[in-house]
Amino acid sequence: MSPRTRELGFLIPAALVGLLGTASVANAQSRTLGSGALTIVGVVIGLFVLMHIALRLRTPFADPYLLPIVATITALGMVTLYRINPVLAREQVLWLGVATAVFIVVLACLPDHHVFEQYRYLCGLAAVALLVITMIFGTDISGAKLWIRLPGGQSLQPSELTKILLVLFLAGYLRDKRELLAVPTRRIAGIALPPVAVLGPVLLLVGACLGVLGLLNDFGTPLLYFGVFISMLYIASGRGSYVVASLTCLVVGALAIWAVIPHVHTRVDAWLHPFSDAQGQGYQIVQSLYALANAGLIGPGWGQGFLIGPNGNYVVPVLDTDFIFTAYAAELGFIGAMALLCLFVVLVARGLTIAAQAPDGYSKLLAAGLATTLGLQGFVIIGGIVRVIPLTGVTLPFMSYGGSSVVTNFAIIAMLLIISHRSRAPFRPRVPRALRANAQQQIDSLDG
């Protein structure tokens, strides 16, 4: 069975999840399963079929599991969004259409991801530039200055694109300095450190990202960037001591930010003691915990939880973006949430498998960086919701409402699939017809 046929087979359960989920919401909400809901399901299925066709044409040997996993998470996200806000669900279908277009364009126009290797510093500069632009022109939405308003009411979240640029930069840069990184030149307190000349620019760039984001008042994205940086540094160097050193920097940096910026105090308090200010700083997290606890082991089922108040407002603020996981787990319970967590683990596993199968260091670093980005982003937002770490405002990949996030994440999947295709395609050298005929003649003469 070809990888693409296998992929098509695994897309069927994803489509069923979407269809049955939507029917379940319609049933619970005592609405009929009208043409509107079926149109959403149909269009989403159609978009994935388009992606599948593009993969058949451009990357026939790419990993067959990645797209079905993404399709399943998207189906769960769309049903959850449709349950809490049908209008937003329809808008999200449009964004999914844009994401599909970007996905196909990436597949069509990027035959070889190695082109980015030579533009690594450009990527790094672009990442910083995007963040500076956000800092200057950004709009404050729910406490973090992460959006740029576009004429026409839409807003863009540049930090989503930044994460791809950062991975592209790090993959190129770390591949370049890999040999130097592997040889420590000095030790401080028993921890091996690479040459300053090598690590300096990297730390500078990452520090710049963190600084800028600290000013943008969002802590989830820096956490995500730092995590991706540490992961890629570890893969490039194979040295745990670098991870320890970086984590030490992170903790020291975090403590410094905590000491300097008073805003962080309230956030940390809301993390550690949400119930002591349940109507103020802790409101979101407390309402979210109430909704999660109410669901219990198996949950009341889609459409049967208490997520929308009598006045039509969300019971938990920003339920459609930051707290989409709460909206999901509050109705499907712990078992449903476990299924979603497993999907993310499998997504990361496939991404890292692609990295492991890649033939060269750059591809490995790029694929691992992209896969880690998706996994860590899921960890950061869900971890914030279940109070493992302070709550941050990053989106849950493929589930949260929002255009920037879904477009970027599908671009990431497209790049992973290109890398996968190139490493799995059988080697077929292009031999000119004349040469081939000549060889055939020689073989024939040997027989004779």
Partner: protein
């Protein structure tokens, strides 16, 4: 590099396992503690999703029902009270803001379907719970007559079937409309007189002369006195260093114990009290259930015990060194609930046996099968059948020719005792009547209190008792 990639995968997976563990803590292990946090809107909402059972009067008429409505695409249930002023304190309310009271509170498990062995589907929450219907013992006609007679007054009426303990009437005035609780609660609690107070079980009043029934029983129990024991009333008795007078300073001259009860002669009962001592009188009080409180199927702690009350504590009935002469006439820190006095009356009526009072007769599930039936039980043996019969006869005299003639019913023998206890305001009394009928084979025992009345129990409360008893006896209950 692949080794590092593999290790990275294990670290990331470990992160997700950590998330799963912590999520399991919130959603499963610690969930009930979060559910029970005050003000949790999820828990409040969950109560709206249950089709709460109905509360019915003894004739099946609806006192509290749930009506389905649609809220944001979800079916929720709204509690409505078709006759919200019928017995508001007894029925109670179940409200997400004000909480729960009365039978709505005490029967919440049955009303929400949370009782008995749950099926596996029910345990997993896959099958909607359906509440069971609670049929009470309340008699519609009699309760409404009690409400009518109490209108404009502060007071309470309680009527029991002395043979079973079934509470037929539980009326407390001022009342309120249960259907206004959700929308107009601040207005209700601003009303004078404390409408939320269930005076039948929570109002504590000096019993006054109604307590002489207890003293008379103790006197006969002791063997020192008979209904014919003679006394001489000179208008006052010296007790604990202070003179004790009759009501309105009347003077009765020679009298026997029956006459003393009939005309409520304080000096005679004071002498009896002194002769008995607090030990003997206290033992009879214990036998009548003073110092304890039955549940009457109401929420725990909402039925107050009666007895000698100091501050918030009920003192021992048999404590020595007390002013037993004044206890014997229902004074001296004695505070009683109307329920307790109805139990005294019912004990005499039922040959000395006080039955456990109850409000819940049967509970049937949504399919109509009975899931609970009250079984009558003895609350206390107050006295022997012989002495109960003697006190019964003495109490009949009260209605026939004494202070309680206003309670008389044509064609029936009524037994009773009036009480007119002084309040802190001069000239205003807590006016009592306790009694039962028909005296030969009692089917109803009552206690009536009207607060701050310028008139005596025989004038104000006895007619209310008569109306309620008549309604019950003619209603065929």
């Amino acid at each position: 590099m692949n080794k590092s990639i593999r290790r990275l995968f294990w670290v990331l997976s470990g992160g997700f396992v950590l998330l799963a563990c912590v999520l399991g803590y919130w959603q499963v292990i610690h969930a009930s503690a979060i559910d029970n946090r005050p003000g949790n809107p999820q828990t409040i909402q969950r109560t709206l999703l249950v089709a709460r059972g109905a509360i019915l009067a003894s004739d099946g008429s609806k006192l509290a029902v749930s009506v389905a409505s649609n809220q944001q695409g979800q079916r929720v249930y709204q509690r409505t009270y078709p006759n919200g002023t019928f017995a508001p304190q007894t029925i109670g309310y179940a409200n997400t803001v004000q909480g729960m009271t009365g039978l709505e509170d005490s029967q919440n498990g049955y009303l929400t379907g949370d009782y008995g062995a749950q099926s596996l589907l029910g345990k997993l929450g896959l099958r909607a719970r359906r509440g069971a219907n609670v049929t009470t013992t309340l008699n519609v006609a009699a309760q409404e007559i009690a409400n009518r007679d109490l209108a404009g007054k502060q007071g309470a009426v309680i009527a029991l079937d002395p043979r079973t303990g079934a509470v037929l009437v539980m009326a407390s005035s001022p009342g309120f409309d249960l259907s206004q609780v959700g929308t107009n609660f601040s207005h209700i609690i601003a009303q004078p007189g404390g409408p939320l107070l269930n005076r039948t079980v929570q109002g504590r009043y000096p019993p006054g002369s109604t307590f002489k029934v207890v003293t008379a029983t103790a006197a006969l129990e002791s063997g020192l006195f008979t209904p014919m024991s003679m006394f001489d009333d000179t208008g006052s008795v010296l007790a604990s260093g202070q003179l004790l007078h009759n009501f309105n300073n009347e003077q009765f001259g020679p009298n026997n114990l029956t006459q003393a009860l009939t005309f409520s002669i304080n000096t005679t009962f004071a002498k009896v009290g002194i002769a008995l001592g607090s030990q003997t009188l206290g033992t009879t009080m214990n036998a009548f259930g003073f110092g304890r409180a039955p549940s009457v199927d109401l929420p725990a702690g909402t039925v107050f015990p009666s007895g000698r009350v100091s501050g918030n504590t009920v003192l021992s009935n048999t404590q020595s060194g007390e002013d037993v002469a004044r206890i014997a006439i229902g004074q001296e820190q004695l505070l009683v609930t109307p329920l307790q006095m109805a139990l005294v009356s019912g004990g005499i009526a039922n040959n000395g046996l006080i039955m456990n009072p109850y409000l819940v007769h049967t509970i049937t599930d949504s399919s109509g099968s009975v899931v609970f039936t009250h079984h009558t039980s003895v609350y206390s043996r107050a006295t022997s059948p012989q002495i109960a019969a003697e006190v019964n006869t003495m109490m009949r005299n009260v209605v026939k020719e004494g202070t309680g003639t206003a309670a008389a019913l044509s064609g029936l023998d009524v037994a009773g005792k009036t009480g007119t206890a002084q309040t802190s305001t001069n000239g205003l009394y807590d006016a009592w009547f306790i009694g039962f009928a028909p005296a030969q084979a009692p089917r109803v025992a009552v206690a009536v209190i009207v607060e701050n009345s310028p008139l005596t129990g025989g004038v104000v409360s006895a007619p209310i008792a008569r109306d309620v008893m008549q309604s019950i006896l003619t209603g065929g209950n």
